[in-house]
Subunit: 136 residues, 2 copies
DNA sequence: CAGTATCCAACCCGATACTG
DNA sequence: CAGTATCGGGTTGGATACTG
């Protein structure tokens, strides 16, 4: 049976309460999701096989990678190409839509790398002020 | 006491295991976090007061908004200006660093809004194919 | 108004075992 | 290799009560 116990995945708690989350936020949460971000960035370079992607990202369980890829595939961002061979071979790549998204995400990632130092400095300053405030 | 039971917040599970997550991913997760994204986008327009921000975002609890703002403040992205008046008034705004980050995030958000239709179509196609495959 | 502290449910996510 | 099913720990996040 294909009925998974878990919901659509990656896109988290749709709310629980009566009202549903607007589609806009849902899509935004998929592309900004923990693993979604990293998958999109990796696939921007080239297509990847499943385990290849897993190694490239590092520290992601099979389950979460599968969920993430399925969500992104469903959203039309990732293309899944399963070749009928033994052993199985599945290639994942970006669709045109996915490439657009991935480029936005990459912008964010590159900014992060560039400015990480500034962030860490800010953090140290914040912590120092906090520590000082607790005593004096 | 200022010792919160909960950790640094927003930036989630640092791993649990021995090895720590690299700072790069940590920062990336802060700016792509569920509420971090929305806060940054709102603050790009103008400064907001706490409850103003809460209403503008909608469906965010005080707790999560507080946590998110504190994390972003610690990372040097958000400036907190608490005025010593009764009743209290606290304004939140972006720092220069935060504005840079927020502009990246806005790019992503604008892409999402623009292409949401395409995503929804893709989703319907995916679901239709799935439903068909289960029977045939 | 702007938080802080605590309780508790829901859920994410990883580890493991198993299928094709 | 690629993926599914299940279990369990830890985190998220809302509701409530309280402070200044």
């Amino acid at each position: 049976m294909a009925v998974s116990e878990e919901p659509a995945a990656v896109g988290k708690y749709d709310t629980g309460d009566g009202e549903a989350m607007c589609p806009y936020r849902l899509v935004l949460e998929h592309v900004t999701s923990r693993w979604g971000v990293l998958v999109l960035i990796e696939l921007l370079d080239r297509p990847y096989r499943f385990s290849e992607l897993r190694r490239a990202i590092g520290r992601v369980s099979e389950k979460m990678l599968t969920q993430t890829l399925q969500t992104l595939e469903r959203d039309g961002l990732v293309h899944r190409d399963a070749k009928p061979v033994i052993p199985p071979r599945v290639d994942y790549s970006l669709t045109d839509l996915g490439r657009e998204a991935a480029e936005q995400v990459r912008g964010l990632a590159e900014w992060t790398q560039k400015r990480m130092g500034a962030v860490q400095e800010a953090r140290e300053g914040y912590d120092a002020r906090k520590a000082g405030a607790e005593q004096g």
